[in-house]
């Protein structure tokens, strides 16, 4: 396995195209931090070349009205694990438009998005798995799970599939709910207060992703950002 190349970026770093080279191994982390309070429009292209393996993570905490377009292009025998987590509050608005394009055969992709929407925030997700005509033996799956935590919060989702080859595995799943009542109940029966239980569940969602980072300091920083945001929502 080639050595993993790790890239950590924030808005303004100016990198519109991220490439995982042929037979390469890439870890890419993008963070929109809480202290960013402006409107933001961004566009990124991620290319995974033949035989490449990419682990890509996007975290959205800040911004006022954010419009993010991400196009992922997968070549022959390439793989990608793509995770997005957004955590919105007050009147934040986030629109994600993502296209996962399997351009050649034998591609593999797992695209998982989790969203926590509190206050009067609005999270919109539009994701599209496109499997081109000759991209046989492709395996692509998209999941998006949104948790609505505020009375005025909204969520719009449009997870699409556009399948033009037949010898493929393709699927998607989506769910929208409050933080799971059964999980909360279980934690409360263990003596944990409700808000702390919610915090624990959110922490678990982040840890599930940040634990995979090669640089644990980045993971700790992102987790800390998530917990501070939670505290500002629930404890003022």
């Amino acid at each position: 396995m080639p050595e993993k190349k790790c890239v950590f970026e924030k808005p303004g770093d100016g990198n519109k195209k991220v490439i995982c080279k042929k037979n390469g191994n890439l870890e890419y982390i993008f963070l929109l931090p809480e202290d960013s309070q402006k409107d933001l429009t961004m566009e990124k292209e991620i290319v995974v070349e033949e035989g490449g393996s990419a682990h890509v993570y996007f975290f959205y905490f800040g911004g006022k009205n954010v419009y993010s377009t991400v196009n992922i292009n997968l070549k022959f025998f390439s793989q990608i694990q793509y995770n997005v987590i957004f955590f919105l509050d007050k009147k934040q608005s986030l629109r994600l438009e993502e296209n996962y394009n399997f351009l050649q055969p034998h591609g593999f992709g797992r695209f998982i998005t989790k969203g926590f929407t509190a206050g009067n925030a609005c999270g919109e997700y539009c994701g599209n798995i496109v499997i081109e005509k000759d991209s046989q033996e492709t395996d692509g799956r998209l999941e998006v799970h949104s948790f609505i935590m505020g009375q005025g919060a909204k969520c719009n989702m449009l997870p699409k599939l556009d399948i033009r080859a037949n010898n493929v595995k393709a699927g998607h799943a989506a769910s929208v709910s409050k933080i799971d009542g059964d999980n909360l109940f279980y934690l409360e029966t263990r003596g944990i207060k409700k808000n702390d239980a919610i915090k624990l569940i959110i922490e678990g969602a982040f840890l599930d992703v940040t634990n995979r980072f090669s640089d644990p300091d980045i993971g700790d920083m992102i987790l800390k950002m998530a917990m501070e945001k939670f505290d500002s929502i629930y404890y003022g």
């Binding site: 005509k133 046989q136 949104s146 609505i148 935590m149 505020g150 009375q151 919060a153 909204k154 969520c155 719009n156 989702m157 449009l158 997870p159 699409k160 599939l161 556009d162 399948i163 033009r164 080859a165 037949n166 010898n167 493929v168 595995k169 393709a170 699927g171 998607h172 799943a173 989506a174 769910s175 929208v176 709910s177 409050k178």
Partner: protein, 475 residues
Amino acid sequence: MPKYKRHKTQDVISKSSTIKEAWESRNPAPYLTHSKKGLNEDLVRFISKEKNEPRWMLEHRLASLKLFYTIPLPKWGPDLRKLNLEQITYYAKAVDIQSQDWKDVPQDIKKTFDRLGIPEAEQKVLAGVGAQYESTVIYHNLKKQFRDQGVIFEDLDVASHEYPDLVKQYFMKCVSPALHKFTALHGAVWSGGTFLYIPKGVKVDMPLQAYFRMNAAGMGQFEHTLIIIEEGGWGHYIEGCSAPRYGIDSLHAGCVEVFVKDNARFRYSSIESWSKDAYNLNTKRAIVGRDAHMEWVGGNFGSAITMLYPCSVLAGIGASADHLGLAFANKGQRQDTGAKVIHIASNTSSKVQMKSISKNGGISIYRGLLDIRAGAENAVSNVVCDALILDAKSQSQTVPEMKIENQSATVAHEASAGKINEDDIFYLCSRGLASQEAATMIVNGFINPIAKELPLEYALEMNRMIELEMEGSVG
């Protein structure tokens, strides 16, 4: 172990071939000499005058025509620009008098419906039947036991005269002519269709059926189905339709409106097998009251382009809806179908299960909308769509939109796409089935959750349609 009679492929295909002959049969259409192609205000006034309609209906038609001219074609979905609306015959009357006895129906028309099995089904399993040929209903009947309970099952043209207040109260209140270009067109030129009224507390325990048949080349059919189920009522209504193929575009822009009042239950089933040169741009919607339940069960096999998204508006607390659908897209076909559910009230629930099959270059698309409004506390919804792509030429798309404005909603959606597992084919072949039989059996299993909700005779017909479509699919 019970002995099961194994159906030989040839026997099944021969029965399926009888259905195919019924669909493809054509009768002469001398009545077309009195009809013109294209649409204008004179035609709309002519239709209204022919039917001796009240003033309000003529005004409604003319207002709809104005809307039709102003609303553009949709910018999403299949490309409709090739549909030449000026080459469609919007109104053609094959017979002057409607019958209540099949003996009184002209022989050539009766023969068509005989081949489709309608009179036979009426005797055996149905509470009533309406049969529409081109623009008018040529046969309508309801069994006495249901008439005596106050059930009204009539041709809508007749009902608009016999029950004018009832029709006026509900007509195009569920589906507005302003909804899109083809509801506006429908509002202007609608003709024929069904009026079904089930009074409070009455349970109609046998299905009612309407069958719509386009015969002539380049026809348009715009039947309107208006269904009112009063509180506590029960009913099941089945629609079938077909048309022969001429290689010239034909158009079906029907409309179905269903009002399911509090505590009522209603199932609307349809099997659509329009010819493969038809545009099927149908609009169906139900408004569901408190603790009421609505079911849509549908199979779409025909037409070159279908755009069909039955919609349930869950307006009453505790209302629920189930949508079960199947679409089969063969060569040259684009089946753009799905379901829309709008949760307005609290404690509402919905379930959508869609299956699609694409073969020989066909394109099947699931297009859905799940809209949970801010006031819909504790709404629950589950959407599942599965697509089977039988060869490398075919395509499948899924476009399920979800808009959630209430934090107490619980929504889950799942979709998958793939081909028939080769190991399953191998297993069945090793048990003595030919590869095509094996593929057909697997596909029938795939659609079974939908087929089993239909009355047996219609489930069998759907299976036969699958067998016809599957011919030549393996190898």
